[in-house]
């Protein structure tokens, strides 16, 4: 993508996210009706579910670009996969923390061994493992190759999480029609859609920023490599500049 278009897209994502956040907050506090059984605490739903969708998106991006990396061995695919994994972990952390806060007043417990909860925790652990693996690999190529395999295997957990409420009876509600639930009030559905859109815009904005950080990290490593070569040829070695 050419540079001005890339910058314009990045700015548009940032501005759209900033504009949508107050609209979301207004909608979920002032527009949506109160859920009859759970009361006000049900409003956690409008952050919990979009965060779950964003975590899925992160994992899907990571798995897709990992597969592309294994196929074509292009560095840019690995950078996007790494960014997707980090964002997947970020949003999955939000899901795993907001879920128990919602569960406590509704189910009476913070956590149960329910399949959806456990499989979501497993997904989080797999992708935390992915990030740890990358940190501990011997070189860039090894990190990319090994973590790509982990990402693809880890993504197999996604359909289990998604279908768990249909395959196993548990406490976790089936709310959305696509998950076999009874559906939502139209105002709730609109607010959920609005919040999900906002989360997705934030996701793509952060993805662009995280990929840029990856590119800069590569550039630093390449420049240091050149500096070492120059040093070997007799010139003084520069430091990373971080300590300057």
């Amino acid at each position: 993508m050419n540079r001005p278009l890339y910058v314009a897209l990045e700015r548009a994502l940032f501005i759209a996210t900033l504009l949508l956040v107050p609209i979301c907050l207004y909608s979920l506090f002032m527009v949506v009706p109160m859920e009859e059984k759970m009361g006000v605490v049900q409003r956690i739903f409008y952050f919990h579910v979009p965060a779950a969708f964003s975590a899925f998106l992160g994992v899907a991006v990571c798995a897709l670009f990992s597969a592309l990396y294994l196929w074509k061995r292009e560095r840019r695919h690995d950078l996007i996969a790494h960014a997707g994994a980090e964002l997947g972990v970020l949003f999955c952390t939000i899901v795993l923390l907001t879920g128990p806060i919602w569960a406590r007043p509704v189910w009476g417990v913070w956590w149960t061994g329910e399949v959806r909860l456990t499989s979501t925790l497993v997904l989080w652990l797999i992708y935390v493992g992915y990030l740890v693996l990358r940190q501990n690999a011997e070189n860039r190529e090894q990190a990319a190759r090994w973590s790509a395999v982990v990402a693809i295997i880890g993504a197999l957990d996604m359909p289990i999480i998604y279908k768990s409420v249909e395959w196993w009876r548990g406490l976790h509600p089936k709310v959305l029609k696509m998950s076999g639930g009874g559906g939502l009030d139209p105002a709730m559905e609109r607010t959920l859609l609005l919040c999900t859109t906002t989360f997705f815009l934030l996701f793509f904005y952060l993805l662009i920023q995280r990929v840029r950080a990856g590119r800069l990290q590569d550039e630093v490593e390449d420049l240091l490599h050149r500096a070492r070569q120059a040093h070997a040829a007799g010139a003084p070695t520069p430091t990373t500049g971080a300590d300057a």
């Binding site: 006000v40 952050f47 939000i94 950080a213 800069l216 420049l223 500049g241």
Partner: protein, 80 residues
Amino acid sequence: MILPDIASTGGALTALLQAAGVPDAVAGAVDPAQVARGFRFLTAAYTVVWVILAIYIMSLSVRLRRLSQQVRRLKERLGI
């Protein structure tokens, strides 16, 4: 530290919901103490979301600035 009276806080929140146009049949039917308890959990959840996102965005921003500075300094020193 002055702890707020849960029942009166709940009553105020219920009134706030009614003022915000939430139907009486729904907002009024809820026990104020239950509303206050719900709001505590809701506040906790929203705080978690904002704090996590803020920490990540700040750390990413610091990382980007640090890397940009490193690239600039390395280029200067290498004469690129």
